[in-house]
Symmetry: C2
Subunit: 645 residues, 2 copies
């Protein structure tokens, strides 16, 4: 079978031009809805007031309706005395008696101005007694009166077609008595996934199957931007199934298919699309990374898009080509608030000659956002879950300088920048601290990369806090030796590290496990404190040269829990980790060493409010209690104190 | 009756402290929902992966599974030849045959790596023929392979409590097979309006009634921030009705009442609230402007708030005291994106000794936002409909300097900054241009203040475009004489101005109308081109000194339509305006003068994309046709050309 390749990669601009000029992007129609349901929707007609606001001249304050000229002489020394007429004009009641010369009528805020009156003296400037008031300050004509139609006049256009409704606007509509509005109707998008390997989440995975990730994400993104999206199902890689679903999908206003766009042997999707549609495929392949194999097509002006199967490529291409179509079909325009201005926190080298979209985290420091490119491959779902958005790097740009200004296109309108970025060694203790912090409404982002990676992240300013338990092999001292002058170290707690394994195994020492060829290890990732400890212990046991022979030594996992879980589910037989993880998975545990788990903080972050709150959590009784509840954890006396820097 | 006054006004901080320490702000509970419905919701538990992602080692590319060491010698000059085994491993299928030494197996992206293989050579680096492949580039072990759990490992915490779900996150959940999540449940808020004067929108207004504005706005704002809000109805100003609704409301998680907080005679609301609740009112009156009479109360830790009846005060106090409670009850935290950094575009003097919230428009110029305080009274609904947010001015600040940096708190998450701010004279012609522009997805904000106000707004940089028809009384020339060196003038069109009146009146000249004492005029606002023309005509007729005797001279309306509408509905008998407005309302029209309606643009905005687009709309055939369709409009030959500046 011949492999199809992408010979004619278009630039992003060319691709957009070819796609957008062949589809109908405008709203499909309009609908009448109650104003209660209209927030975020777009008006399809101008709204003209059929009603004056206010409908009559009304008092703006509590006080007395008067004839202004009666009060002109009044001041505190020489108050003017006016006869108080008997009627009280309250809001909601029409005045019955006209105001007479040299008289006053009690009037409340919002009440209609009686005939004869042309001003209101506020209550604070009057003394009332025995049927008279003394006015201590003169008023000019119209003072404290709002005239009929002064706010909105009948016939005025209050809102214009294309406006996006907010809750405040509902107030204006209510004021002119409007209860329903015409808005652009919601476009209906059909979503299809293709691929023999896909199983719907919720079903059990078997064999070579994986869960269908893209449909949930695409349906969610369509909804987020205002469309109704319906998932029509998964088509296997055969023409018949794709055809059947596509036929159904073409009844919708737009079609988004994912998967089936690579040049692989099983990928028929683009052929079916090209055969079934008129004019068919407009763009097949764009000179971008990630997302090169994207397909942009049209059927009688209806947009049909085949997004790449890799989730990262899928979501980036959605944002690049589909989002503006969805917004436009809703009558909306691309929102500028979906971009954030940031500084690139590290120097970033781009792929040569490729228009690149670099997924990035956003970290806020004072009033500036910093972008940290996410170092992940396009197959990873975690690369976009930990990313807030992407930086666009045009093909003629080779690199972004450190601190260069960049625009981050947010992947979702719901993105919120965390208050604390915690990068380092995974620990149930630090998890507990962050949980207490989250109850105080401090949002944290946790990236488990091990102690070494966490300290590097602090040095680069990427992390606010790093949890670390790195032993210095020579001195046996934890953590302090790895600090530098930009970092501080805060005392944490002690944890028991040891060997985890399933019940039934009779080994007693590390040597027993290493000598048993039948057993398979699950190792920790390079740079984690546990891995450093393990390698140090191997060296002590003279295992340095032949550690590659340890079965499973190359299989790395990123956390204590993951190690325990792998052993409990028999994917491996033993591993190194903390006692509490072993207990959680009902494993046996042989004690190897007590270690110090401390917190490294960049000096520049020490005064940050959320960081100070984290430290005060460390010192709190609530946290100490939750640490002592963990098996093998001991609170240090000086927890929360600065021990370095 | 004694008037109650506010003797002990608290500061905002004191009020917040007293209120928040006496209420329970946390979420009321949790619920399990489908991930499709979870966007924008807040996770109430951590989510741990029960599934490795990927679940097996898989190929990242289309190519050939190989043993890496078989390829080490390969380069373009010396390709390595490997025997191609017969099986094609496609995504979704488990490999049946293990890979043999010096062999290769065809493998697709996403397919499981066969036993024996430890790398994938991509298809682009291989030539396939006659049962063999030639590898032109060596691969190292694990190249193009993603190992089981490399992305997410079973046991890993993927999301943490407190996280706000985005569409991308749905992809991660799908990847680990999760279809439902636990989120904080949605708080239920009861909304009540009070006041004898209130009528629900949709009903007919009678007598001294006005529409209830606040309930629609409060219900909308609660929904916008994540709560369910239910409007329980309008209570008249009597204890019984307020009591009945409040009793019902106390079954909800929070209660928001509006109106009934002034010191007026009819306002019982705060007394009922204080009597019925435990502990009752915590704060009555805060030293702010607007919003002073706000009441903050609690019933057994449940928040109960009485917001002022004036809509502007109501929405500002909602933002100040209620919004964070709603967000917090949803498990959310105050969003930093609801603030925009801007420069104050004009010097603003604050009220002495009052903590002030200054409603402001936001105008974007290049990358900077400028805030323009909205000059409106607190009774006006248009003051917050045209405002995007407010600037907070603490009580010890007397003024904000021009160009001083300020934070604008947005009144709604849905706020979008318009592309074009059009301030000036209302005209159906400019309306038509903006409608064409809105179809091209340029959002405009139109503020009708008349020609003079529009030119001033251009000089202050507040407007992008001003529509103007100002005649210079001496020369008789329109518009040009009012320009300065910072402004440009673009040619528009000609309109017929004249007298509008209802059919049946036999008057023929302006003098006839002025002499008829039975007729009532509706005038235009000071500074509008029509008003300038009218006053000029009066002067010609020697009406200068006694124009105050013209019945209705002091009643001003803001647009041609409003004038026509007032005459058609018999609120007035005659007025000055353009012919097309008269025809729209089926009125008679006597021609007075042809005038020039042109467009003034600040030079600094001339290159702005949306402004250029506006000018190209002026020159378009579509626009010319829509102008010619208006009665009494004539397109100028040089429409769209610069005639000054």
């Amino acid at each position: 079978m011949k492999q199809k390749e992408f010979h004619n990669l278009l630039s992003v601009d060319e691709a957009k031009k070819r796609f957008y000029s062949n589809i109908f992007k405008n709203p499909k129609g309009t609908e009448k809805i109650n104003i209660d349901d209209s927030i975020g929707r777009i008006l399809s007609t101008d709204i003209t007031a059929k009603q004056d606001v206010p409908p009559f001249a009304r008092s703006q304050r509590d006080g007395y309706a008067v004839i202004a000229s009666d009060t002109f002489q009044a001041d505190e020394e020489n108050p003017v005395k006016l006869k108080l007429m008997s009627e009280n004009i309250s809001a909601g009641n029409s005045p019955k008696t006209p105001l007479k010369k040299a008289c006053a009528l009690r009037i409340a805020t919002g009440a209609p101005i009686p005939r004869g009156a042309n001003a209101v003296v506020i209550v604070e400037y009057c003394n009332e007694s025995k049927g008279f008031i003394e006015v201590q300050s003169g008023v000019h004509p119209n003072e404290n009166i709002m005239h009929a139609g002064e706010d909105v006049m009948q016939g005025e256009v209050v809102f214009r077609q294309g406006m996006r409704m907010t809750s405040c606007d509902l107030g204006v509509l209510a004021a002119i008595g409007v209860t329903q509005v015409d808005v652009f109707s919601t476009p209906k998008v059909a979503v299809i996934s293709t691929g023999n390997e896909l199983t719907p989440p919720g079903n059990r995975l078997t064999g070579a199957k994986i869960y269908d990730v893209n449909s949930a994400m695409i349906v969610g993104a369509c909804k987020e931007y205002g469309a109704k999206a319906e998932f029509l199902g998964i088509a296997k890689d055969n023409e018949k199934e794709i055809e059947t679903l596509l036929k159904k999908a073409l009844k919708y206003d737009a079609v988004i298919i994912s998967g089936g766009t690579s040049a692989g042997a099983g990928d028929l999707c683009y052929r079916v699309v090209d055969e079934m549609l008129t004019p068919g495929i407009l763009v097949h392949g764009v000179a971008v990374k990630p997302g090169k194999p994207v397909v942009l097509a049209a059927h009688k002006k209806k947009p049909v898009v085949v997004l790449p199967g890799f989730p990262t490529s899928c979501i980036v291409m959605f944002n690049l080509f589909v989002k503006s179509v969805i917004l436009s079909m809703c009558g909306k325009k691309e929102d500028t608030s979906s971009k954030i201005k940031a500084k690139c926190a590290v120097r970033y080298s781009s792929y040569e000659g490729r228009h690149e979209f670099v997924l990035s985290n956003i970290v806020k420091s004072k009033d500036t956002y910093y972008a940290y490119p996410v170092p992940k491959t396009s197959g990873a779902v975690t690369s976009f879950s930990s990313a807030d958005g992407y930086i666009e790097v045009p093909e003629d740009i080779d690199y972004i300088e450190k601190d260069e200004d960049v625009d981050i296109v947010l992947l979702s309108d719901e993105v919120t920048v965390p208050d604390i970025v915690f990068i380092g060694s995974q620990c149930m203790g630090s998890d507990a601290a962050l949980t207490i912090l989250s109850k105080k409404s401090y949002l944290s982002r946790v990236i488990n990369v091990g102690s070494t990676g966490g300290i590097l992240a602090c040095q680069r300013g990427e992390a606010d806090i790093c949890g670390t338990h790195l032993i210095d092999a020579k001195s046996g001292v934890y953590n302090i030796g790895f600090m530098d002058k930009e970092l501080m170290l805060i005392r944490g707690y002690r944890r028991k590290q040891g060997i985890m394994f399933r019940k039934g195994c009779q080994h007693k020492t590390l040597g027993d496990f290493l000598r048993d060829n039948k057993l398979r290890l699950i190792n920790r990732n390079t740079g984690s404190g546990t891995r450093v400890l393990f390698d140090m212990l191997l060296e002590d046991l003279k295992y340095k040269s032949d550690r590659k022979n340890i079965k499973g030594y190359d299989v790395e996992s990123k956390s204590h829990n993951a190690v325990a879980c792998a052993i409990a589910s028999k994917k491996a037989d033993w591993g190194i980790g903390i006692c509490s993880a072993a207990k959680m998975y009902n494993l046996e545990f042989i004690d190897l060493r007590d270690e110090e788990y401390d917190f490294c903080i960049p000096k520049s972050r020490f005064k940050k409010e959320s960081v100070r709150e984290f430290i005060s959590v460390l010192k709190s009784d609530e946290f100490k209690k939750s640490i002592e509840a963990l098996v093998g954890f001991v609170v240090s006396d000086d927890i929360g104190e600065v021990i370095y820097g």
